[in-house]
């Protein structure tokens, strides 16, 4: 089932639009791995899936499966089964026959097709619901059936187009667990489109960040968090700390003072923005002698068990250019940490989680902040409603 997918210079310009939906995209998805395509809406994520699966033709570029071009191959022969955000279960077939669809269109006898379908329903833990009508299932169950139906097509590559974004959080986590189980059982190559960086990190080994039809960065999950190549990537991944300053002699100089950079981060000397995760800023006592910076807590936000502190750093005088009054550092504290608003604290930065990226033209907070999960509130509409 595992196949290596390569996209080379994929370009698609829809007639009547100014900008290309996708320009010169190069991507590789090793066999049996899961790649997450992450980006704001309109960044071209879904276009990638449509071009790769053959539902749409690129203006330029190539799609390779195990090194062989499949551009001339019709979608039904490419072996790239898709699961969309809506389950799209065929309303004229019951659950079992939905899963048996791929086998039936390949002219497998009905009895055998249903027996195979049953195994895939087992895989998504719905073997008892085979005789139900899709509209009798809950949203989460419908999406499970959609996943089973795609797997039953035995695709070379499984394409997931924001498949869980219409589900509420507990259901989504259940689906993530299901994807992990499926990966263990079948080892499929997966391309997952999502706008949720947490989902990307939970499911994929690698993340490819898209913006305005271009690939901005493809990297392992850990590196995309700790070594974003631009402010855009850092923000898309939910990073909150951006400290403008100057790089000299492998140190970053800013309002926080002089901070040594990790060995593998080698920016050229000159202006640069120090970027680190809020999870990589550890709050300590204000008189901690090893603290990289000190400051005053201005706001506290509770995020589940953890808390997110907003800290105004003390000025380290000497570099007047970097001083901005609205610069804040965000740091997450573990449960039980007491520091409240107005408290004086010290900050230690994880030395390996720092990086420096070029300064951006736009002010922070304007680009790429993942929108609050409005989509989770959307209800899953039974597809049958529209065709009755």
């Amino acid at each position: 089932m595992s196949t290596h997918l390569t996209l080379q210079g994929l370009t698609r310009h829809y007639p009547g639009t100014d900008a290309a939906a996708l320009s010169g995209l190069d991507l590789t998805v090793p066999a049996g791995s899961c790649l997450a395509l992450l980006g704001p809406s309109g960044s071209g994520k879904t276009t990638v899936l449509r071009l790769a699966s053959g539902l749409d033709r690129p203006d330029a570029g190539d799609v390779l499966l195990d090194g062989r071009s499949v551009l001339g191959v019709a979608p039904e022969h490419r072996g790239m089964a898709m699961v969309f955000q809506r389950p799209l279960l065929f309303p004229h077939r019951n659950v079992l026959d939905n899963v048996a669809f791929a086998a039936r269109v390949r002219r497998t006898p009905r009895r055998q097709a249903r027996a195979e379908a049953k195994e895939y329903l087992d895989l998504v833990h719905l073997s008892d619901l085979g005789h139900r009508h899709p509209s009798d299932l809950s949203g989460g169950q419908q999406q499970r059936v959609a996943v089973a139906r795609a797997l039953a097509a035995r695709p070379h590559v499984l394409m997931l187009d924001e498949p869980f974004s219409a589900l509420d959080t507990p259901l989504r986590e259940e689906m993530h667990e299901l994807v992990r189980q499926i990966r263990e059982a079948l080892d499929p190559t997966i391309v997952l489109v999502t706008h949720d960086q947490a989902e990307a990190a939970a499911l994929a080994e690698e993340v490819a960040v898209l913006s305005e039809g271009r690939l901005v960065q493809q990297d392992a999950v850990d590196r995309i968090y700790t070594r974003p190549r631009s402010l855009l990537v850092a923000r898309l991944m939910g990073g909150r700390n951006e400290v403008p300053g100057e790089v000299h002699g492998h140190h970053h100089h800013s309002i926080l003072g002089s901070i040594a950079l990790p060995v593998d981060v080698r920016p050229s000397d000159g202006p640069g923005v120090l970027v680190f995760r809020q999870e990589a800023a550890h709050v300590t006592d204000v008189d901690d002698s090893d603290a990289d910076a000190r400051g005053t807590v201005t706001a506290v936000r509770v995020i589940g068990a953890r808390r997110l502190l907003t800290i105004r750093p003390d000025r380290i005088d000497g570099d007047a250019r970097a001083l901005t009054d609205d610069l804040h550092i965000h740091a997450e504290t573990p449960p039980g940490h007491r520091a409240g608003s107005g408290a004086r604290v010290g900050l230690r930065l994880s030395p390996h989680a720092l990086t420096v990226v070029p300064a951006a033209a736009s002010p922070p907070g304007q680009v790429g902040r993942t929108p609050p999960a409005t989509s989770a509130a959307r209800t899953v509409q039974a597809p049958t409603e529209s065709v009755r």
């Binding site: 969309f84 799209l88 019951n94 269109v105 009798d136």
Partner: protein
């Protein structure tokens, strides 16, 4: 206790049933009457002679002609209307409003005016009368099939086709396994309407056919134009009701069969409820 809204709905439904069935009562009475002076409340003598007379008037062959005409109109107008509706729904037509208006025009124009003009053209073309009738009626049926299929396509989600393609279905397989079943209710309605256009037409059949192509409506009309034929006219009319009623029932059954899978559990219980009702799973 029933609420006023429910009562009102029930009353309205009852009124509609009476409204539709009342005209049939004299029809049934006349068909079974051997003698009815018109003064009496019910016929004085009963018999089924009217049906025999109707058969003697050539109603058998007229029935077959009407059936063939209705079926042929449905077979031609339904796919054509479906194609037009598909193009309109997908936005592949330039000036879709204009095209839709042209397609709906036959409903707005007086049939008599159109058919008088067309008849000259058809005569010049030396087309056999039945073919001419069929062509004109297909055009008359197109507005109905196009409109019904346009609505069906409007509610149809093309994403199902994308999904089916990635699951291994060729374009033909998609049409057969996905598009047709999902559009079946619309197709059934459009077919039925087109059949009715052919089945119930009088003017086009009379004018283009020159009175020699006798269908059920032509026969009924000619019988009704004489006096003293009331039992025969009533018997013919009742006979004319049967095929459309059968077709409507067939369409309704087909719709149910295609929109619901054959195997289905009756109880609406969902899995979560089923779990909750399991003993010990409180």
């Amino acid at each position: 206790m029933r609420r006023p809204a429910q009562l009102l709905r029930g009353a309205l439904a009852g009124f509609l049933v009476v409204w539709f069935l009342t005209p049939l009562i004299p029809l049934v009475l006349w068909a079974g009457a051997e003698g009815w002076s018109g003064v009496a409340r019910l016929p004085e003598r009963w018999s089924l002679d009217a049906f025999l007379t109707a058969l003697g008037e050539g109603s058998g062959i007229a029935l077959l002609r009407s059936l063939a005409l209705g079926t042929a109109v449905a077979i031609l107008a339904t796919p054509t209307g479906a194609l037009a509706a598909r193009a309109l729904a997908r936005g592949t037509v330039r000036r879709p409003r204009l095209v839709a208006a042209v397609l709906l025009a036959p409903v707005a124009l007086p049939v008599f005016a159109v058919v008088m003009g067309l008849n000259v053209v058809l005569l010049r073309l030396h087309l056999p009368a039945p073919i001419g009738i069929l062509l004109v009626l297909v055009v008359a049926a197109l507005p109905y099939t196009t409109y019904v299929m346009r609505v069906a396509y409007g509610a149809y989600d093309v994403a199902y086709e994308d999904e089916a393609r990635t699951l291994g279905a060729s374009p033909w397989a998609v049409a057969w396994w996905v598009r047709l079943p999902l559009l079946a209710p619309g197709v059934a309605s459009a077919t039925f309407l087109a059949f009715l256009v052919g089945w119930s037409d009088y003017i086009v059949t009379l004018v283009v056919g020159g009175g020699r192509f006798v269908t059920v409506p032509v026969l009924v009309a000619s019988a009704a134009s004489g006096t003293g034929n009331e039992p025969t006219v009533a018997a013919l009319s009742i006979g004319a009701l049967v095929p459309p009623t059968l077709a409507l029932t067939a369409a309704a059954l087909l719709r149910r069969r295609l929109t619901r899978p054959a195997v289905r559990l009756r109880e609406p219980a969902r899995a979560d409820r089923a779990l909750a009702s399991t003993p010990g799973a409180a």
